[in-house]
């Protein structure tokens, strides 16, 4: 059993009771809600006549269903309008804080939590969305929950949870040119598998993480769940504090000092013990891209597609299905695979640093005529910042579409969808069949650099081979 890790400390300080089920009742420090997974939960509260136990520890926004082209109400999509109206009514009725579309602060929950300083080290953070692991970048324990559990948090600010084991993922050395946090996370999932993290929280550490920006850490923690780990976190350090200082909900003055002291205390101790440790040399990581139908189906972009025989017997059926669905063949190179759509966005890669990186690479180039490129900022604040820096003009001059904040093409719940058997290169986090809205649509995941280099080339391209070193 792990000892003295951040996970253990936060777990222990948030334990309310041991339940008959053998689970622990855990206090939830921050509950983020959005339109998709909450209406049924509010319905449940009404059924049992309960209010929201700690409305001040709940924050709502909209992200999944909002159109990114025009956000004028009522939405064309009646169901989207209905969901939106239901959330507005519920937050009013139950007295929950809500970031409206006209607040200037709306965005994807996993972008706005850190951005507003709501997500802080040492917290437990829950949201009815599996990518809540993102908030682990702040040194907190963030995890996704289902609608019934959303109801539990609303009614009691607690959850019944099983304690996880802790696996330390140590990335040593440094990353090569053109290699980004997205490649680190895809590599971890590649190595440990999409089930490697089941039952574990991942603690990311080592020189690569010490040197990584907060936004990069968010990208990595975001995809922990794609490797099966419900939680992924990085210990808070000076980078974390520098990021947090001065944000809207961050403590100030003396309270800030007390906060920093507390956050230093809850980081894993030097004597921390882990249930397992996995090490990767940073130098061995290449830009990664997925070729199949789950995020573990990935390769270093210059590698030949893997032979079916190289997979464990039990995985081969899925691998064959993946090749068949994606219309690719083992042994071939993925470079040069024609793409129809390039998507730069989602809670994995839609922060200002992602957009800056994308703009830097696309500047002076044109999106290939055969490619439709969407650039979708993760929040209204990111959008505003990007526009102040003129990034939107760089994108539109290159022929990309510049959109309003939202989940957009990450999933087929809003008008941004693949059509027919279109093939996309996408900075999002899931390449499951049907994910981007078309049952036959094909998704390749990669970093912002890979998406931009591919958008320009019209086919999957290595960002290291662009004019300048990425």
């Amino acid at each position: 059993m792990s000892k003295n890790t951040l996970y253990d400390k936060v777990w222990d300080s948030h334990t309310v009771a041991r339940l008959d089920s053998g689970q622990d009742q855990i206090f939830i420090g921050l509950h983020l809600i959005h339109e998709v997974t909450t209406p049924q939960a509010f319905g449940m509260l009404k059924e049992i006549g309960s209010g929201v136990a700690f409305p001040g520890r709940t924050m709502g926004t909209v992200d999944h269903i909002i159109p990114t082209l025009s956000q004028i109400r009522p939405y064309e999509d009646e169901l989207a309008e209905k969901m939106m109206a239901a959330l507005e009514q519920n937050v009013n009725e139950f007295g929950v804080r809500f970031l409206h579309l006209d607040s200037g602060k709306q965005g994807i929950v996993h972008v706005i939590g850190p951005e507003l300083g709501l997500s802080q080290p040492g917290m437990t953070i829950a949201c009815g969305d599996s990518h809540t692991s993102t908030h682990g970048a702040m040194g907190s324990l963030g995890f996704g929950i289902g609608t019934t559990e959303v109801g539990h948090v609303l009614a009691t600010q607690t959850l019944a949870l099983n304690r996880l084991k802790v696996k330390r993922i140590e990335v040593t050395g440094s990353l090569g040119p053109g290699v980004t946090p997205k490649d680190v996370t895809l590599r971890v999932i590649h190595d440990l598998g999409i089930k490697g993290g089941l039952g574990f929280a991942y603690e990311y550490g080592g020189e690569v993480f010490d040197a990584m920006s907060m936004e990069g850490r968010m990208t990595v923690c975001n995809m922990s769940i794609e490797g099966g780990a419900r939680i992924g976190y990085v210990n808070p350090d000076q980078t974390t504090f520098d990021y947090l200082e001065g944000r809207e909900f961050s403590p100030e003055g003396e309270a800030w000092e007390r906060g920093v002291a507390y956050w230093n205390e809850i980081a894993s101790g030097d004597d921390a013990e882990y249930d397992d440790v996995y090490e990767i040399a940073g130098e061995s990581i290449e830009p990664m891209v997925t070729w199949g139908i789950n995020p573990g189906h990935s390769i270093g972009i210059s590698q030949p597609l893997p032979e079916i025989g190289s997979f464990a017997g039990e995985d081969r059926k899925t691998v064959e299905h993946g090749y068949d669905f994606m219309d690719l063949r083992p042994g071939e190179s993925i470079l040069g695979t024609k793409v129809d759509v390039a998507f730069l966005g989602s809670c994995t890669n839609s922060r200002i640093s992602d957009l800056r990186e994308g703009a830097r690479l696309i500047k002076g180039n044109k999106v290939h005529p055969g490619v439709r490129m969407l650039v979708v900022p993760g929040s209204q604040q990111v959008k505003q910042q990007a526009e102040e820096e003129g990034l939107h003009e760089i994108f539109t001059e290159a022929g990309a579409e510049w959109r309003e904040a939202g989940c957009s093409m990450c999933l087929g719940m809003n008008p941004d969808q693949l059509v027919g058997a279109e093939r996309s290169i996408s900075t999002s986090n899931r390449n499951f069949i049907g994910r981007q809205g078309s049952p036959r649509g094909r998704t390749h995941l990669g970093s912002p650099a890979v998406v931009v280099s591919s958008a320009i080339a019209g086919c999957i391209a290595d960002p290291r081979e662009m004019g300048e070193q990425a």
Partner: protein, 202 residues
């Protein structure tokens, strides 16, 4: 909300042999826009069913089945509870498979759908039995952790704590959690961030 004991489920089974069936395939994302779960069963595997004329869910031989036998890593992907809800509302009261994704398993537990895990060999045998003799009536016995048909008894694993809750009828966790609200207040008061570090914690 009424809670009930779940001890035994008897009926026919739908065989779903493929591995890694994720929640996007169980209930495609575009069907998630509803604000109630009513009717969500219509979304169950709908993309696959459209493209697969003899999909097990539509096969008349499996009509009226109340359990499903599945492969490895069933329910991976998005945490949407629509997937277990669609299964339950379609009439699936229990699933037996080689392995299940964690969040999916938690969501199933929360709505009172037990999951049994068995070896690949045993699951494949169950799947074959359901395919070849779809009229077979299987019995899932939660207390004894078995699936049986004819004289055949297959052992399954049901997570101990969940099993106890099904048998005792305490799987509706909300009632349990609400019972401890005074202690919740105490823990909240001990966490300095709850006041945004404005005051010393207790």
């Amino acid at each position: 909300m009424s809670t009930k004991r779940i001890e035994k489920i008897v009926g026919k089974a739908i065989p779903m042999p493929r591995d890694d069936i994720d929640t996007d395939r169980i209930t495609p994302a575009r069907f998630l826009k509803s604000i109630t779960f009513e009717g969500i069963e219509k979304a169950l595997f709908c993309d696959e069913r459209e493209n697969t004329p003899d999909h097990p869910v539509d096969n008349p031989a499996h009509k009226g089945a109340n359990m499903m036998f599945v492969g490895k890593n069933f329910g991976s992907g998005s945490s949407r509870e629509h997937a277990p809800q669609a299964l339950k509302r379609f009439g699936v009261d229990v699933l037996v498979g080689i392995s299940f994704a964690e969040i999916f398993a938690g969501n199933c537990f929360a709505i009172g759908v037990p999951l049994g895990v068995a070896s690949a060999e045993d699951v494949n045998e169950l799947i074959r039995q359901a395919q070849e003799e779809p009229e077979t009536r299987f019995t899932v016995d939660i207390g004894n952790s078995t699936v049986s048909y004819g004289d055949r008894v297959v052992p399954i694993d049901i997570q101990e704590t969940r099993k106890a809750a099904f048998l005792a009828g305490t799987w509706d966790m909300l009632a349990n959690l609400r019972g401890n609200l005074p202690q919740v207040e105490e823990v909240a008061a001990s966490l300095p961030y709850v006041t945004n570090f404005e005051s010393e914690a207790q």
